[in-house]
């Protein structure tokens, strides 16, 4: 502990860093990190970034001028300011300000620049830069992040280059020429024959930069990724939703006046499928506005809920607002959705809400667990997860799911022995369903004995016989939507295809339902994000198979996605390789194996590492303590201990006695040696007194006799 304290003190008292080169480079790295975060965070963040830059500038200016004698008041002020920034972040999270953690990161770094007094502080400053870049990376949804990243990396490498020069000077190496700041070498000319100052930098810098970039790309492609349950569960600092879970679906973009057949919403991107009723008479497309980003190692449809009851013109949930309330387990940071998850690989998705969405949690695969800042959630009769409040912009939640996959051969083996509740609910057909619809279904499924083959036959018919159209003719009064789609309009959009398939399957005794949600969206490999836009809102079919549950089908033509969950990518090219028939080279399996090994072994390795680290730390501390004991100054012998070491007392007594005898008393302010300088015959005795008083070993008999005689 003493050694640790000494080390801490030595670092605290480290020499002031006066190198302007280092300071400028650190300032550059910090400034670009703030600018990058400001731009990534959007227009709201820019003023904060500007203020942070000003604080940063004055901070470095102050630290540069006062690094030898920093003011305690400034130090206290910085401490208070950082705490204030932290408080601001917490309030921001509570009231829903955009990216308060980003603002905290910016201000934290700007404020800490006032403390950049020595080289150790500057190294710590780069950690702040990294933290800011991390926040920027988390918020980044495009390729702009490359700009601040590369500039900050350049500043950091230049910093390391300069450090190397300074380290050499500190180690006693004299520069062969007068040291000049690096910027004095900068010349705009790229002609290396004339620009001799810049030539060395270009000469190796180009090689280094290019090759490092290439190696980085290879590493990016090759490194395994983790897809299972994170060691640290996803969490958000956001204040939990205040309202309890409710069965009613609240769509923030729902138009005040709903005109049948036209999407005239101005409140936002309104998809009429995210409601408790889906009206098939709606017409029109959706915009390309980004609704959310999903970070997931597997491609999937992001399901919201399903509809079971068809009335000829729209779909509704027959159970209405009846939901099952699930309370949060105090001991767990999440809600368990099932205690008996289906078999299969698990993957975790994180949803970043960009535009306000209904109070429905979108999930991929078969959800097992959801991490969301709420006290309660509700599960509707179709498995949809409903929240107490709408999903506001800036909200984040994560879901752990099973990537359920179905083998057609096994599905064909299932019979028609459906549970009663499934029969009662999902074979419902209204009277509006026309005979020609039933006849078409019968014709399409004729000769197909299994439910799977019937579903595939209907799906195939819909995929190949009806062109897609956002704007089919208006719904005729008193008509059945499915009938109009199949026989009158013969064109439509996803809800029409899905409705037709569900109704035809039901007419053939196969339970089915309409599911709404989002398609997987556009995948961005660099950001590892699926960008889900408004026009990705979608619906598809779920067919019930005894023993397997609900299996998704996609009857909509022109839709590029698939309701099946893709392979879980445990490395960047996992998805690409799965599309190529390379059976001999199981890249995906290797990646999965590495990720599995990593996930399985990491916890015990961490524990073992921690124990080993503790053992080494203890050994190191013990050794330092022993070193300290070996080198510590001698301990004074207390007068009461003199009995244990009589020679010491004997000397001191003799010393006092001789002083009295010779009338040469020592002043209390005098040391024995100062006294002996005056009374020279005390020389030897004074040495012996010092030995008796301060040497760990008491005077020997020989030393004692020499003086006493």
């Amino acid at each position: 502990m003493t050694a640790l304290l000494a080390k801490y003190r030595s670092r605290k008292n480290a020499p002031a860093e006066t190198s302007l080169e280092l300071r400028w480079l650190l300032f550059g790295g910090m400034a670009i990190a703030i600018i990058g975060l400001g731009i990534t965070g959007g227009i709201f963040m820019l003023p904060f970034a500007a203020v942070a830059l000003i604080i940063l500038w004055f901070g470095h200016r102050y630290a540069s001028r006062n690094c030898r004698a920093p003011s305690k008041w400034v130090k206290r002020g910085v401490f208070l300011a950082i705490n204030f920034a932290f408080l601001y972040m917490m309030v921001g999270l509570a009231v829903g300000l955009p990216y308060p953690q980003g603002q905290m990161a910016m201000f934290g770094m700007a404020l800490i620049s006032w403390e950049m007094m020595n080289r150790g502080n500057m190294y710590a400053g780069w950690l702040f830069v990294l933290a800011n870049l991390h926040v920027t990376a988390t918020l980044s949804r495009g390729f702009f992040f490359f700009v601040p990243l590369l500039i900050a990396a350049g500043c950091f490498l230049a910093f390391m280059w300069v450090i190397e020069k300074l380290d050499a000077a500190d180690a006693g190496y004299k520069p062969v020429a007068e040291p000049k700041p690096f910027w004095s070498s900068f010349k705009p000319s790229l002609n290396l024959a004339t620009n001799k100052e810049m030539a060395p930098i270009f000469r190796w810098g180009a090689s280094f930069g290019g090759m490092a970039f290439l190696v980085g790309i290879v590493a990016f492609i090759a490194i395994p990724r983790f897809a299972g349950t994170p060691l640290v569960p996803p969490f958000t600092l956001r204040v939990p939703m205040s309202g309890g879970a409710q069965g009613q679906i609240i769509n923030p973009a729902v138009p005040l006046v709903q005109v049948e057949g036209v999407n005239n919403s101005e409140a936002g991107e309104y998809y009429h499928g995210f409601d408790s009723q889906l009206d098939l008479s709606y017409r029109g497309g959706l915009s390309t506005a980004t609704m959310m980003y999903v970070r997931s190692p597997a491609r999937s449809y992001w399901r919201s809920h399903a509809y079971d009851f068809y009335n000829g013109r729209s779909w509704v949930q027959s159970a209405g607002d009846a939901v099952t309330i699930v309370d949060k387990n105090i001991a767990e940071p999440s809600f368990m959705l099932t205690q008996d998850p289906p078999p299969g690989e698990q993957f975790t998705q994180t949803f970043y809400v960009v535009n306000d969405l209904p109070n429905i949690a979108f999930v991929g695969g078969s959800p097992v667990e959801i991490f969301i800042p709420a006290e309660q959630i509700a599960i509707d009769s179709t498995g949809g997860i409903r929240l107490g409040e709408v999903l506001e912009s800036g909200m984040t939640y994560s879901v752990r799911s099973v990537a359920t996959r179905y083998d057609p051969a096994l599905l064909r083996l299932t019979g028609f022995d459906y549970p009663l509740d499934i029969r009662a609910k999902y074979l419902q057909l209204p009277d509006t369903v026309t005979q020609r619809t039933r006849d078409l279904a019968a014709d399409l499924t004729a000769g197909h004995e299994t439910a799977y083959d019937k579903a595939m036959a209907i799906q195939e018919h819909l995929l190949t016989s009806y062109p897609y159209d956002y704007f089919p003719p208006p719904q005729k009064p008193n008509s059945d939507s499915v009938d109009q789609f199949l026989f009158v309009d013969q064109t439509g959009y996803c809800e029409h295809y899905v409705s037709a398939m569900v109704i035809m399957l039901r007419s053939q005794g196969v339970p089915a339902r309409l599911v709404s949600g989002f398609g997987s969206g556009q995948y961005d490999a660099i950001n590892n994000l699926f960008e889900v836009r408004a026009l990705d809102a979608h619906s598809w079919v779920e067919v019930y198979f005894p023993g397997y549950g609900w299996v998704p089908f996609e009857p909509t033509p022109g839709w590029t996605g698939s309701p099946d969950i893709s392979n879980i990518n445990t490395w960047i090219l996992g998805g690409a390789m799965s599309a190529i028939d390379l059976p001999a080279i199981p890249f995906g399996a290797i990646g999965s194996a590495v990720a599995t090994v990593f996930s399985v072994t990491l916890t015990p390795v961490l524990i073992i590492g921690l124990l080993v680290g503790l053992w080494f730390a203890g050994r190191w501390a013990w050794q330092r303590y022993q070193d300290y004991l070996a080198t510590r100054p001698p301990v004074y012998t207390k007068l009461q201990d003199l009995d244990q070491q009589p020679s010491r007392g004997q000397v001191l007594t003799h010393y006092r006695k001789v002083q009295k005898q010779r009338d040469a008393l020592r002043d209390p302010e005098q040391t024995t040696q100062e006294h002996a300088d005056i009374y020279t015959d005390f020389d030897e005795l004074a040495d012996l007194v010092d030995i008796a008083a301060y040497r760990p070993e008491p005077p020997t008999d020989e030393e004692l006799n020499k003086v006493l005689e």
């Binding site: 990243l149 190397e164 000469r203 490092a212 590493a219």
Partner: protein
């Protein structure tokens, strides 16, 4: 060799990877990948940092190097590799400098070798391009601190190019000409204005028969302290009742024998050790060497034949020249004597004997007295070792004697031996050049 900084870098990369895995943020994978790229490329560049780097050490070549003079050393660093010669840390051990001085270990940092006029690889056929490689010169001047044989060790070059993540060391040496690898530094010679031993002797004594240490009987005389018992003439003793010694004719050779007292220490000589490196010149023995050099030089200048007597028989046989004297004195080691000083004196045949003693070994002094008794002219110069700040810094230790020069000098003078005691800081040229103390 990875540095501590590399491991910190690696730890940071691992933490980032863990963050990337946990958050699935693609950019964190990219930052991690960039860190990996930087580390790998740093390793590759570091391997090239001193690749094909040549170092030439040049010394201003002279006929002789004498202690106290200055020496100019030029180190030339040349590389023809375009990625070589960056952030060079140069460690130059200069053995001829003072061990405790700044110049003994000199360290320089070369950020990058100077830009060439043209790169070798850029030259194409038919083009008259310059192909001057990258070059840097470091020139320094150093004082030859002490006599001795010195070998310059290889220049140590290391580089932590480009970011201090890896360190590469190499030893490069290419001295021109090759025999510059070793440098023989002569001891300092101070001019003496006078030396009683040689200057007071009448010329006639050089030819007339006189008593000495020969074999031919010359006469009888009363016994004197130090006479060999074998030379006692017992018949005269019986006749006169007093001790009488036989005196023999002096058959010694003209000229002067010079001997420096070397300690006899029971240690093995370390042949691999860098000779003379690390020793102070402020020891009694080093002063003795200087005095011997000056005395010998004086004798040679006066035309006397000079013979060197060495306890190890390392001295050149017969009369020596000035160069031979200085070369011998440049190499002599203080504490490696295999033979006792008194035994070495048995080989003395010259008329005059000058002995420079950094110690007061009674046996050695007895031998010198005996030499005097046999008719040699003896000069003894003691170094008062107590007055010197350092006795011996070789670490091998020197023997101590109870009686110092102050004890022996009066006795020797009484017996007619010319004797001086030199203390540290004395102007010994003045003391030795002083007129005969008997005059």
């Amino acid at each position: 060799m990875p540095t501590k900084r590399f491991f910190r870098f690696l730890l940071l990369a691992i933490v980032l990877y863990l963050f990337a895995n946990q958050t699935q943020v693609g950019w964190l994978y990219i930052i991690f990948s960039l860190l990996i790229g930087i580390m790998l490329m740093s390793y590759w560049l570091n391997r090239k940092a001193i690749h094909s780097l040549q170092v030439t050490r040049e010394i201003d070549w002279r006929d002789e190097y004498v202690e106290g003079e200055s020496l100019v050393v030029v180190l030339t660093f040349v590389t023809s590799h375009r990625l070589s010669g960056y952030q060079l840390r140069i460690d130059e051990l200069c053995p001829v400098a003072d061990l405790n001085g700044e110049q003994f270990l000199q360290q320089w940092f070369i950020p990058s070798l100077n830009q060439p006029v043209g790169m070798p690889h850029a030259a194409s056929a038919g083009e008259a391009q310059h192909t001057v490689p990258l070059e840097n010169k470091i020139e320094y001047e150093v004082e030859l601190y002490k006599r001795g044989v010195y070998t310059f060790p290889a220049v140590e070059i290391s580089s932590r190019f480009p970011f201090g993540l890896f360190e590469r060391n190499n030893y490069k040496e290419n001295l021109v000409p090759d025999d510059c690898l070793s440098l023989l530094v002569y001891p300092e010679v101070r001019p003496l204005s006078h030396l009683n031993l040689l200057d007071r002797r009448p010329a006639a004594e050089m030819v007339m028969p006189r008593a000495g240490s020969g074999n031919e009987f010359l006469s009888l005389r009363p016994y004197r302290y130090g006479d060999s018992p074998r030379h006692i003439h017992w018949r005269s003793v019986a006749r006169t009742g007093r001790l009488v010694s036989k005196e023999f004719a002096d058959e010694s050779l003209p000229g002067m024998a010079l001997i420096i007292g070397r300690y006899v220490v029971e240690v093995e000589k370390d042949d691999d050790a860098q000779e003379n490196i690390g020793r102070s010149k402020y020891t009694p023995f080093e002063t003795a060497v200087k005095i011997a050099a000056s005395v010998g030089d004086y004798a040679l200048q006066r035309g006397h034949a000079l013979t060197l007597i060495d306890q190890n028989d390392e001295a050149p046989r017969g009369a020596v020249t000035a160069d031979m004297l200085l070369q011998y004195l440049a190499r002599i080691d203080e504490s490696t004597a295999e033979q006792a000083f008194s035994d070495a004196l048995d080989r003395v045949q010259q008329t005059c004997v000058a002995a420079v003693l950094p110690f007061t070994d009674p046996a050695a002094i007895d031998s010198l007295i005996a030499l005097k008794q046999r008719g040699h002219e003896v000069l003894v110069i003691f170094l008062d070792s107590e007055s010197f700040p350092e006795q011996d810094v070789s670490g091998r230790g020197v023997p101590c004697y109870a009686q110092g020069p102050a004890h022996w000098t009066p006795k020797l003078v009484e017996l007619g031996v010319e004797c001086y005691t030199i203390k540290f800081g004395d102007d010994w040229t003045e003391i030795i050049s002083g007129r005969d103390q008997h005059d």
